[in-house]
């Protein structure tokens, strides 16, 4: 290894970028998971607005992440989706007991 610092820079860059992407994906996945729970608890009927809002914001997050490559925006939308999904779950009587 003649240029260990260069390799280190590349690794840091790759890890950093990957970490950012993973973070967004995890957030989206978390929101989706909460939505699944909410749907199972009957949120479609018990908290239709909250459920649909979660769905709409999640779609925006996925779009930003997959089509626009805009992770910060995807993060922001995913946060909104998570908030609505949690509310829907709560209103449907689901969630942690």
């Amino acid at each position: 290894m003649k240029r260990p610092w260069l390799a280190l820079c590349v690794i840091v860059l790759i890890v950093g970028l990957s970490a950012a992407g993973c973070s967004t994906a995890n957030r989206i996945q978390a929101a989706r998971s909460t939505m699944d729970q909410a749907r199972a608890a009957g949120a479609v009927y018990k908290a239709p607005f909250e459920y649909k809002a979660a769905e709409a914001y999640l779609a925006q997050a996925v779009n930003q992440a997959e089509n626009e490559g805009d992770n910060p925006a995807a993060d922001a939308f995913a946060k909104e989706a998570q908030a609505y999904a949690s509310k829907a779950l709560e209103m449907s009587g689901g969630g942690a007991k």
Binding site: L6, F49, K52, A53, A56, D70, A73, F77, E80
Partner: protein, 319 residues
């Protein structure tokens, strides 16, 4: 040297990454701000109309589309505005959909929630007016032909009153003298909205004839010379065979009243007997009555007047 180049390259790369992260957000154009204002207004209007309840799906998408449009319009690389415009168009459509679904739902709710229209004020019908009533009588109850009687009437609860036989509309109560030529039935009709009421009185008109019989002084004996005059009486009773007859004796004022009364009675009895004996009237259909000097028809101060007052009247009805 190579290391320096590589270091410079890495520095530029790092600077670019930092530049992209720290790049200033794009500023919305005035037109985009106006569009956003319109979208916000539509959403706010829908929220006031209970959008969450009426159109939860449309409401959710409108919010997400609005936020996406805001995001896209502030992205540093989203220029020219043409690219942003489609996001505003999409958000605007979502807001329209929301409003279109919310409005009729809200209006229907308002109709349901509106208090029932006040019941029409039912004015209770006025209590039915008491039926009218009427009375009418005549005084005297009968008249001899050529004489008059007075009708007296009264009504209750009437709004108008009318008496037939040519009298016409009258007050609710009153009197009127009438002189019927024949027996007459007077009917009063009292009227109000509740209907009419009728009352009637019959005024019999009796006939009579006067005989001037020349009785001897203080005598009730009928002389031969008076038979012609008595034929008038016979003709009268024959004319009214079904009617009770009364013979009324009258004197002038000469002499005491009590005496004259008895004398007039004796003379009336004599005429009655004459008529019964003639066979033209049954005894139970004729009566006699002495009136004395009480009912003069002429001046007792003159000879002619006293002659007229000394008379016998034959009348119907025995009164």
């Amino acid at each position: 040297m190579r290391n320096r180049r590589l270091f410079l390259g890495m520095t530029v790369l790092l600077a670019m990454l930092l530049a992209s992260g720290c790049a200033r957000n794009r500023q919305m154009t005035q037109s985009e701000k106006d569009q956003l204002g319109t979208i916000e207004a539509k959403i706010a209007k829908a929220e006031k109309m209970d959008a969450k309840e009426c159109a939860p799906v449309e409401y959710a998408y409108a919010l997400a589309e609005r936020d996406n449009a805001i995001h896209e319009s502030t992205e540093p690389w989203n220029d020219p505005p043409k690219y942003v415009a489609k996001h505003f168009a999409s958000a605007n459509k979502a807001a329209d959909d929301l409003l279109n679904k919310t409005t009729p739902c809200w209006e229907a709710k308002q109709v349901k929630a509106a208090p029932p229209p006040p019941k029409p004020v039912v004015v209770p019908p006025p209590p039915p007016m008491a039926a009218p009533a009427a009375t009418i009588l005549a005084d005297p109850k009968y008249v001899y032909e050529g004489k008059c009687t007075t009708l007296t009437w009264s009504t209750q609860n009437a709004t108008s009153a009318e008496i037939d036989q040519g009298i016409g509309s009258v007050g609710m109560s009153g009197t009127k003298e009438v002189c019927p030529k024949e027996t007459m039935k007077y009917t009063i009709t009292a009227t109000n909205p509740g209907g009419p009421a009728k009352a009637a009185v019959e005024v019999p008109v009796y006939h009579r004839t006067t005989l001037y019989i020349q009785f001897a002084f203080d005598s009730e004996k009928i002389r031969k010379a008076d038979e012609k005059e008595l034929q008038t009486a016979i003709d009268f009773v024959k004319k009214y065979p079904e009617t009770k007859i009364v013979v009324l004796g009258h004197t002038d004022s000469t002499g005491p009243d009590e005496y004259n009364k008895k004398l007039s009675q004796r003379r009336a009895d004599a005429v009655k007997k004459y008529l019964v004996d003639s066979g033209h009237v049954k005894a139970d259909m004729i009566t006699a009555e002495g009136r004395g000097e009480a009912e003069p028809i002429a001046d007792n101060k003159t000879k002619e007047g006293r002659a007229k007052n000394r008379r016998v009247e034959i009348a119907e009805h025995g009164k």
